[in-house]
Subunit: 148 residues, 2 copies
DNA sequence: CAATATCCGAGTAGATTGCTAAGATATAAA
DNA sequence: TTTATATCTTAGCAATCTACTCGGATATTG
């Protein structure tokens, strides 16, 4: 029951772009360095995010990536679904549809549905803006601790 | 973000034992047949469940497995943790402990913690007894539909 | 002793994960 | 126009995991 590094790295990269939203295109190289992720690997992840319409790219020198929408309009769930596939602890309860044969009479299925909905609920209740605000709070309280 | 067949099959097998709780030892072969699972594979899963103290075994002819406790005292989460490992969408938020270096200042981490807690909450709120009751209800309502 | 089960360890094909690498294409700055 | 900087695209690959399969040892009943 784990997410892979795709979700982890992808979310960190999107968070990085959110922190710099409005500053023009951010190069993937700089994101990769700050977040300590392989640039080559991150290329694949950002390609998926671009195709899904979550980021825009600018090619060429001084190019890079920007969020396609305001950070308040990108949910963590949007990012995870692109990089990890549909949120579902079992194939039989994929959000899109698709059922197994036992379907109706399967008690286990109702459990997986509850798990799915609770995970979706969490991930769709948090936006990139929320994360940026949270990070700023954390940094403030850290400075407070260290400098008084 | 998926459970493997270990969790799926294991839960179905435990549910099968719960439905027959009090009838003496149930052979793995019969469980495997009813639940349409490879017996050899199920052997590995039940071995883990036995070592974790969730089922008891009786060796020899007429032997088999029984739940180690009343179905009302076995949570779905207990089973899943044995077969799938600690409930955690990322390694850094394993229920036991263990952190990454960024720990405190990691905003993503708080998200994974929320996901973990919500999944744990769902799985620990459902017992095998609940599943058996639910299954009986389902069967009743199905007969009602078909035979009136 | 024979039949029936659990126990235990090893092996294995196929898929997935987490990269790495090479080269094509586009753009800004010199 | 050239050069440097980036994105874009595809392919490959070692290590690990998944979902079994198999062989045989051990224990119990009749």
């Amino acid at each position: 029951m784990k997410f892979s590094t795709r979700g982890e790295y992808g979310l960190r990269a999107m968070f990085d772009l959110a922190q710099r939203y409005g500053e023009g295109p951010i190069s993937l190289k700089s994101v990769a360095e700050r977040q300590d992720i392989s640039e080559y690997y991150l290329e694949q992840l950002i390609a998926a995010l671009r195709k899904a319409g979550l980021v825009k790219s600018v090619r060429g020198a001084q190019g890079g990536y920007t969020l396609a929408r305001d950070p308040s309009e990108i949910k963590v769930g949007d990012i995870i679904r692109v990089l990890e596939g549909p949120i579902a602890p079992m194939d039989c309860v994929k959000e899109e549809g698709e059922c197994c044969s036992r379907a109706e009479s399967c008690v286990a299925r109702t459990i997986w549905e509850k798990v799915r909905d609770s995970v979706s609920g969490v991930l769709d209740s948090i936006t990139l803006e929320d994360m940026v605000i949270e990070a700023n709070k954390l940094q403030q309280s850290n400075s407070y601790i260290y400098y008084i």
